[in-house]
């Protein structure tokens, strides 16, 4: 029972972390139609900047400054890079962000070396929230969850109930019309990209202290964040939240399940026959945990190509 409980909380927190990174990605895609390959690199930059700034100012100010710096970098990328290649079409934008991801990876290795850096959780958060069954539940995990939840609430309110959100949503579906009405769509794009980048930076600065901050963290999270965005529906904030939580919970809960196909055949009496054949019949569900998100993505793409909450296919 305690195992189930701690797994549930673990899954929720991991899902919320996924949401923090994928929120920016899905916003940028919804707005600009650009699948930003460098998004998880911005997450990594957030972690490294949080670490570097934190050495001067301490943890809390770094948590504020690191996302701001990443947002500025994001604004720079949009204004001076993406905007230039925008008229050549999406393929060029995609290639540009792909190149950026490679460059950021190498630059980070150049400055910080190939191994993880010592980015530590501050003392006031390095405590135990509660203990169950001899396992401590770190307070910092709850902190990650709290940051993600407040981020979602702020974003949701901003998008639904403010003039800014109205303009952004309008520019999302009808950019030409919004421009004709006198809004500066270019500025809206810049704003969205910077905010998206800043959110990834915030996620990095928060999560980097808990998970190792190393040059591989972008690659590690990159593919799974794409899965979240695709499953949730490209451009949908709510979809990203649902998909993040689902994937977080699923990957956490299946760790404890040693189900096999051979076991599933037991009611019809074929269990021993299947076990003797081996191969795919004896693969346990727990050994597939890392691949499950990708299997789900495949299913979603086949059954509902627009994703859970997406509008465009």
């Amino acid at each position: 029972m305690t195992y189930l409980l701690s797994s549930l909380v673990n899954g929720l927190v991991f899902g919320l972390l996924l949401f923090m990174v994928s929120a920016g990605l899905t916003l940028i895609f919804g707005m600009m139609g650009v699948l930003n390959f460098a998004h998880s690199s911005l997450y990594m930059l957030g972690a490294y900047l949080g670490y570097s700034i934190g050495r001067w100012t301490g943890f809390w100010p770094a948590l504020l400054f690191a996302p701001l710096v990443v947002a500025l970098i994001g604004a720079f990328i949009e204004r001076f890079m993406l905007r230039r290649v925008h008229r050549h079409g999406h393929a060029q934008e995609l290639l540009l962000t792909f190149g950026l991801a490679l460059i950021i990876h190498e630059v980070v290795k150049l400055f910080y070396g190939p191994y993880p850096v010592e980015y530590a959780v501050p003392a006031e958060l390095a405590q135990t929230a509660f203990s169950a069954n001899g396992l401590n539940f770190p307070l910092y995990r709850l902190f990650i969850g709290a940051v993600a939840v407040s981020m979602f609430v702020c974003l949701f309110l901003l998008m639904k109930f403010t003039r800014v959100g109205l303009t952004v949503r309008a520019a999302l579906s009808q950019p030409q019309m919004v421009e004709a009405l006198g809004h500066n769509v270019g500025l809206v794009f810049l704003f969205v990209f910077a905010v998206g980048a800043g959110l990834a930076g915030l996620a990095g600065a928060v999560a980097g202290a808990f998970y190792p901050t190393g040059p591989n963290m972008a690659d590690d999270l990159g593919s799974i964040v794409f899965v979240v965005v695709v499953v949730g529906g490209l451009g949908s904030l709510e979809g990203a939240l649902i998909a993040s939580l689902a994937i977080g919970l699923l990957t956490t809960l299946t760790v404890g399940l040693d189900w096999t196909l051979a076991g599933a055949l037991a009611p019809v009496g074929l269990s021993e026959w299947a076990s003797s054949i081996g191969g795919p019949f004896t693969i346990t569900l727990s050994s597939l945990t890392g691949s499950l998100p990708f299997i789900i993505m495949l299913l979603v793409l086949l059954i509902r190509p627009a994703g859970l909450m997406g509008e465009r296919a």
């Binding site: 797994s7 135990t128 069954n133 001899g134 808990f210 956490t252």
Partner: protein, 418 residues
Amino acid sequence: MTLLDRRDVLKLAGAAAAAMAGPALAQSNPALKIASVETLSGPGSTVNRLWSLGLKYCVDKINAEGGWNGQKLVYAEYDTEGTTGGASQKTQAAIADGAHIIIHGGSSAIGGQISEDIRKWNLRNPTAKVLFFGPGIEALELTGAKCHYHFFRFATNADIRVRALIAGMKAENALGKKVFSINQNYSWGQDIQAALEKGAPENDFVLVDKVLHDVNKIQDFSPYVARIAASGADTVFTGNWGNDLSLLLKAVQAAGLKVKFATTFLDLPGALSSAGTAALGYYHAEMWNPQAYGAFGQELWTDYKAKMGTVPSTSEAKSVLCLLILQKALKTIPATGKIEVDVIAKALENTTYDAPTGKVTIRPADHQLAWPIVVSKVEQGAKFPFDGTDMGFVPLKIIPAEEAVNAVQASCKMQRPA
């Protein structure tokens, strides 16, 4: 003077020089060429480059002592780019460049490809055979079903590591009755799990739970930590390396789980610093340990740092030891006008290397090295601190080579040259 005249003069001069150098040339023998085929670019490169660095250092050292066959050893590096296809290409390139010995330490998957390529090459080209050394590739099948006369495993394997850890921890009364196995789901991790299943009845412990997980895909190991806690295990065995080890240990540290770990790659860069103080009291089994190697370890540590700029990691040290054994074998071979790798292979089989931890031999039946294994424990303030921390591996027990090495696998049917 016309151009033609000048050429004639040059020709004459050349002929004269050749005539003078003639007797010397007849005596000069070919140099032994060593090729490091390693993953030097891409994601795996930071760890895999270490093998090449160690080889380079040791080749320079052997050359400073005069090389072999009246020549300096020739060393070259080839980049597999992290794929088996790249490894095949670069193995061919190395053979085309005249390599006599090819060395790969990084990955059992890539090493397995190179080993097969070389086996086929040697079958088809009996006059230009090459040898393959594996200072770090530990999947059992390489000295099992895939063994061949021209491959030498200068490393341990899953069986050796698990048996050494069990023996060392039992001697310290640290093993406990309940053991948990968490490993990566490919040949190496499966081998570790199988070795534990085999060892359980003989050593009076119960494998309470076992789990195999995807390689380098898991971001959050806390559910696995919960599963370990739920099993009530005393000791957790893991063959994990790299990110999978760092993330697992970070999750263990965060959960404050009080359990001993028995590890195989905790001494590589990035692992101890991730684990932090949670690693104190963890057990480790490996053929190399700078403290157990005494004066030899100290000298390698300081000399390597002076020449290469960093202290040697375990991978670099294993590369060095691999070439030192080769050097010892080469000393028994008289100078020759044509290098025959079968002669070198024979000499290696007959070589006994005196490591500070005991005698090292190469088993002719499957070319697995029998090496004394050092079982160590992570402690603070160790003589040789690792990975930028103040922790290091303090040796507890040295298991002699003949006890440590596993039995020859029945699947190995080695064809020996006539």
